[in-house]
Amino acid sequence: MAVDGVSIKVEAGQVLALLGPNGAGKTTTVRMLTSVLRPTRGWARVAGYDTISQSPQVRASVGVLTEQHGLYGRMNAVDYLDFFGQLYRMDANARRRQIEHLLEQFGLAEDRRRRIGEYSKGMRQKLALARALLHDPPVLLLDEPTSAMDPESARLVRDAIRSLRSASRAIIICTHNLAEAEELSDQIAIIRRGKIIARGTTTGLKDLLLGAPEYELRAARPLDGWRPDALENFTLTAQGTDWLRYCTPQPAQVNPLLLKTLLERGIPVTSLQEVPRSLEEVYLRAINSPAGVEVGHA
């Protein structure tokens, strides 16, 4: 079974990043959401339509960037997009306008009449993305949107995805690029062996899986062994001559209090900041948790 009991909800205006190792069930999930695969159990609604009984409506409402681009090498970009525009029942004027706009946006305008077979990997990826966006769908399912792209092109695509966020559009991105997932998404879902093992906002997942945030305070002069032991909800994790690291579940209360205490003691503070916690840590923690253990939902 490729996926088992996957439960996700993405509201209009949200971007969900679906993360997981190869073979975890990301692509299968996307295919079920596009009504290409039929779930043996359960249900899904996409853009208000049931994926089993209203599959043509679902497919009309979804823009999909598939893992394999699936382009026709002998066609040129304009003909290719026009073909899909017709399948999505766009009228000729809207098609022409949208095709011009997307080719401009993705920097493919100059190559519009070249055969797709002559395109580079990155150009193909951009064209495939343009195909997904062509009919301005309310739901976007993007499987590895920036894979095989050079950094500049990847930036361009990420910007495009960011610009696609709107109150009326829901986006799901499947990716192995964790920095991209963190940058683009409001929510993260981690899937392993067909099951969602962690879901929530990036911050929520970090708190859940890595514990309370850690802060680092640097002073302008040595602390002379001073420790703020009297502070509640404060756990010292490391200390140097002029710095200390600590964890607190209530930074809004603890941090001002700590600053005030130091200033009262005549110790000027040069910086106080949260220690960066990468999504990679969250991901690895979730993925490597014992089999069958639900990491939890934030």
Partner: protein
């Protein structure tokens, strides 16, 4: 209505354009459209000239020209087979099928679009080839085709194309690689080659009217193949299948689960599962009963067309020579256990043959085999009228005694065969074509072995020991 077909046409137009961008398709089509008709022109002119020069039978030349017309039409359309074979599996292999499957196209639209795309360019090429050939023979030997023959060739070419394409598209949707599809293409090529030989015989024989039957037969076959393709078109299979693996363990598991059913003991199986299988066959059984009646009707109809000469079917002899006839019947194995086993095994062989033919013909040929004895009975019954016996007396004498067991046996086995064949053209949601077929096979085994075989045995006993006496008694007293 047109809106329903529009997306299919969009797919067709794209694919046709793509084909004309591929020189591997364009070159053969061009050669078969232009060069090949010229070659056939040359051949026709040479043969006609040869025959004229040596004062031979002009019939040979006259028959050769229409035959070559058919060949000129057929050759370019064979390209459609190659295109159709890779229509789905080729895209699947190139991974370009997923965006299509994710588009709002329905299964029917996608299927039809691909089917037309495989058919249209080779068909247009065929007609161009025919035009080139006809122009050539008109110029060289002054021959013009009779309008009916020309219509037949045009329709026949199209129908042959549809049959090849629909068969090839079915293969294309059910395989995982172009290589596998090409290997399976022999299931289309060999029957088409045999068909062409049959059509060639008709052309040289000059029985052009029979070509209409060939056309109708192929139309029915094409319809069934298209239905098969659409019924078993499965997006999931197209995307998900990576390997063609013959999984015998899985096949046995599916078969056994369907065969054993939910019964926990032999008695429960006999009581419930057989009844359930019969219930599943209710519609095919009703259809089979109607077809047997139709078989009798066909026999009666044919008897009215092919009337036997007077005296050829003299039942009066049977009336008068009763004791002698009984002795003669004994010589032929009647009134003996050997006779029973012979008739029983003969009927079982007929069912086995019907099953085999039914599997490869969506059940149709299998049913025809089982209808044949009834058609013969209808023919003889009608012929008996000429000998002074009402047909129903003949049927009561020769069919009724053992028929009350044999007819149900034919009906149930025919229904099982029909279902086995029809499974291939019936949608089976949630299961693969193989799974559905194995379940139908399990029902066939249950019904044929546990219902039909005992019934046939009972019928054979009656046919050997009771029917001859009843027949002679009835005829003697009529």
């Amino acid at each position: 209505m047109l809106e329903r077909f529009r997306p299919a046409f969009i797919v067709t137009v794209r694919e046709v354009r793509d084909q004309f961008r591929d020189w591997r398709i364009v070159v053969p089509i061009f050669v078969l459209t232009i060069f090949f008709p010229f070659l056939m022109n040359f051949t026709a002119a040479q043969v006609v000239s040869f025959v004229q020069r040596y004062g031979g039978e002009m019939l040979i030349g006259e028959r050769l020209i229409p035959f070559l017309l058919m060949i000129v039409g057929f050759f370019p359309v064979t390209v459609s087979l190659v295109i159709a074979l890779e229509s789905f599996v080729g895209e699947s292999e190139r991974r370009s099928i997923e965006p299509l499957l994710s588009s709002p196209l329905t299964d029917f639209q996608l299927y039809l679009g691909k089917l037309l795309a495989s058919l249209v360019p080779p068909l247009v090429a065929s007609y161009l080839g025919v035009a080139v050939y006809l122009f050539g023979v008109w110029r060289n030997v002054g021959w013009t085709p009779p309008p009916v023959l020309l219509t037949q060739v045009i329709v026949l070419t199209a129908v042959q194309g549809v049959v090849m394409v629909s068969g090839a598209v079915v293969i294309s949707t059910q395989t995982t690689s172009v290589r596998a599809a090409n290997l399976l293409a022999s299931f289309v090529i060999i029957p088409m080659a045999l068909l062409m030989q049959g059509e060639s015989v008709l052309m040289f024989w000059g029985r052009y009217s029979l070509l209409w039957w060939v056309i109708v037969g192929q139309l029915v076959l094409a319809g069934l193949l298209i239905r098969t393709g659409i019924a078993h078109f499965n997006r999931e299979e197209l995307l998900g299948r990576e390997l063609d693996v013959l999984n015998l363990r899985w096949a046995w598991h599916v078969f056994w689960r369907a065969f054993a059913g939910e019964a926990r003991s032999l008695s429960a199986w006999l009581r419930y599962e057989i009844v359930r299988a019969l219930n599943r066959l209710a519609i095919p059984m009703a259809l089979m009963a109607l077809l047997l009646v139709a078989g009798v009707g066909i026999g009666i109809w044919q008897a009215n067309i092919y009337v036997l000469p007077p005296g050829a079917f003299d039942l009066q002899q049977l009336k008068e020579a009763d004791p002698v006839i009984l002795q003669q019947l004994q010589v032929f194995g009647f009134f003996s256990v050997q006779g029973v086993s012979y008739i029983w095994l003969h009927n079982l062989r007929a069912v086995a043959l019907a099953t085999l033919l039914g599997i490869f013909s969506f059940g149709v040929a299998g049913v025809l085999v089982l209808m044949a004895p009834l058609a013969l009975m209808g023919f003889l019954a009608q012929a008996s009228a000429g000998a002074g016996f009402p047909p129903f007396v003949f049927l009561a004498a020769f069919l009724l005694p053992h028929g009350f067991l044999e007819l149900p046996a034919i009906i149930v086995s025919g229904a099982a065969i029909l279902r086995l064949g029809a499974t291939l053209v019936t949608p089976s949601p949630g299961q693969t074509i193989g799974e559905a077929w194995l379940k139908a096979l399990a029902d066939w085994v249950k019904i044929v072995i546990l219902v039909a075989v005992p019934l046939f045995l009972g019928a054979a006993i009656l046919e050997v020991f009771v029917t001859p006496r009843t027949a002679l008694m009835l005829l003697a007293n009529f």
